[in-house]
């Protein structure tokens, strides 16, 4: 019989106070009075009762001039125009798709706000409407950009660029949206041999770096050729590294993922998920990021 590794639970370690610069932040819990001064504007995560500004979520109080808001540690995704998101089609409706994007309401992708196969812009005909399910059907993953946000918080998406469109083979990791760092670009071809899309909504797509780009029209022809083992290993390792970074609450961006990937190289891919290995490689990543900042 093969030997089996036995693992016993260990007590959780308290976070060292030395690594806690959160001390100077004003932390609140629901029901806490933030201020009794009426000169402030009420922002997210707060409400007014009897002229007192009260927190409604647990988190850190932030102030921008006269606006006071509480930033919760984790929430659902709040769409902002220009964000890159990864989502999953949940429904095909008249002239639109419904997309699950970890938002509080499903997002919409209008037929008119996507590039149809064939490339160039043309009027959407009735045939296009009937063939919607041929382009995207329930369960398909897409990458898109936020076009507008409705008053109820729902988001309208567009895929009017060859960067966006249907996703083919790869791995999806779902994390809290607050852990994805906002950057100029959210599409990265990592030097380790795979690419990632860091969706602002916390959906992260890891896929093999495509050899030739922008040949296929909007990415509707899915490449179903088998991915070589070496690529799959890189993808699995990246996936486990991202999971490790998320468990240790480190912000996700290209450098942190790459450093974590490099720190994980001495370990087997499956071992990265062990708590002590996670802690070790994330600590190393943290250290390198601090060195980078100088």
């Amino acid at each position: 019989m093969a030997a089996m590794a036995m693992r016993l639970p260990v007590a959780r370690k308290a976070v060292r106070q030395s690594a806690a610069p959160g001390g100077e932040k004003h932390l609140v819990a629901p029901g806490d009075i933030i201020t009794t001064d009426t000169g402030y504007m009420r922002g997210h995560g707060t409400y007014v009762d009897e002229e007192k500004l009260i927190a409604s979520v647990a988190g850190a109080v932030e102030r921008v001039n006269k606006l006071v808001y509480v930033k919760a540690l984790k929430t659902r995704y709040n769409g902002e125009v220009g964000d890159i998101v990864v989502g999953r089609i949940t429904e095909v409706q008249q002239k639109r798709w419904k997309v699950e994007t970890n938002s509080r309401l499903d997002s919409v992708l209008l037929l008119s706000s996507m590039n149809l196969p064939g490339g160039e812009l043309r009027r959407r005909s009735a045939e296009d409407e009937l063939a919607m399910r041929d382009y995207l059907q329930e369960g398909d993953l897409i990458s898109a950009e936020v076009q507008s946000v409705f008053s109820d918080g729902a988001v309208s998406l567009h895929t009017r660029s060859l960067k966006y469109g249907k996703l083919g083979q790869g791995v999806l990791v779902q994390v809290s949206p607050s852990l994805v760092k906002r950057q100029k670009t959210h599409f990265h071809d990592l030097p380790c041999g795979a690419s990632v899309i860091l969706g602002n909504n916390g959906f992260i797509w890891i896929y093999p770096t495509p050899e030739q780009k922008d040949e296929e029209a909007g990415g509707f022809t899915t490449n179903l050729e088998p991915v070589p083992l070496s690529d799959r290993e890189v993808i699995s390792r990246l996936r486990n590294c991202i999971v490790a970074l998320v468990t240790q609450k480190l912000m996700l961006f290209d450098t942190s993922i790459l450093y974590c990937y490099e720190a994980s190289l001495p370990h087997q891919i499956k071992d990265i998920l062990k708590p002590e290995v996670m802690e070790e490689i994330v600590l190393e990543t943290r250290q390198r990021l601090l060195d980078l900042e100088g």
């Binding site: 976070v15 690594a19 029901g31 409604s56 979520v57 929430t75 659902r76 609450k249 912000m251």
Partner: protein, 245 residues
């Protein structure tokens, strides 16, 4: 010996507590990664697990969606192994659907649902070990889970039960005290504003005593609030410290 002595002459209860003393409360937030919010609580030997999903798009029948606020959907269940007698509990038996309704009422009062029109918030709680005060443990666990999910609430909701034995109000009843058949009050309170989210009473209690029993329960709620608040603050502190750099 006749009946079980619930309060000794020296003023101790069957498990050695004083009349107004609570059982030890231990809690943890963020126990699952997949859910939007989750929490685990132990109140003495009563153990409960709560998970929150949402606010998200309406699932199932879309006609139930409310155009001006979010729908709070609760589900209460007891693990087969939670009681001394192993028992399969199918969903929708009378006791658990009543508990579900109570939880829904409690959290509709606390969550700022008007911020999320046409959405749905799911709260699932399960009792892992039942030793009295199941409703209270569920409310307390669900509060932590809702806070963990970052859903805006007016205030914490803290719940505690109280009984009345030999002219003394007892706080935080255990299973044997509940099973003795005396009067029993369950109270869910928004502690800072002292608003009552839910009040439920079983069996008979003289009107003159009602006030002091409720007083004992609300005192217990505030004590629970102090513990939960500490748990939340520690959690927030820990996570911001990790995120800080």
């Amino acid at each position: 010996m006749a009946a079980l002595e619930l309060l000794s002459d020296e003023g101790y209860r069957a498990d050695g507590r004083r009349a107004a003393e609570l059982r030890k409360v231990r809690a943890r937030m963020g126990v699952f990664a997949q859910a939007d919010g989750s929490a685990y609580i132990e109140q003495g030997n009563t153990k409960a697990l709560a998970v929150v999903y949402g606010p998200h798009e309406m699932r199932g029948s879309r006609s139930k969606a409310l155009h001006d606020r979010a729908l709070v959907n609760c589900q209460y269940s007891m693990a087969t192994f939670s009681t001394s007698e192993r028992k399969r509990r199918p969903h929708g038996d009378r006791k658990s659907s009543e508990m579900t309704l109570h939880l829904k009422q409690t959290f509709e009062a606390a969550i700022l649902t008007q911020l999320y029109p046409r959405s749905q918030i799911d709260i699932y709680v399960q009792i892992l070990q039942a030793d009295g005060g199941n409703y209270c443990a569920c409310v307390n666990a669900a509060t932590l889970a809702v806070i963990d999910a970052g859903i805006p609430m007016r205030d914490y909701v803290c719940a505690s039960s109280a009984g009345f034995v030999e002219d003394t109000p007892l706080a935080d009843l255990s299973y044997i005290e509940e099973a003795s058949g005396g009067p029993q009050v369950a109270l869910a309170l928004l502690p800072t504003s002292e608003q009552i989210a839910l009040l439920e009473m079983n069996s008979r209690l003289h009107e003159d005593h009602l006030e002091e029993v409720i007083e004992a329960a609300s005192k217990a709620c505030k004590a629970v609030h102090a513990v939960l608040d500490q748990v939340v603050r520690d959690h927030v502190q820990e996570v911001t410290a990790l995120l800080g750099d």
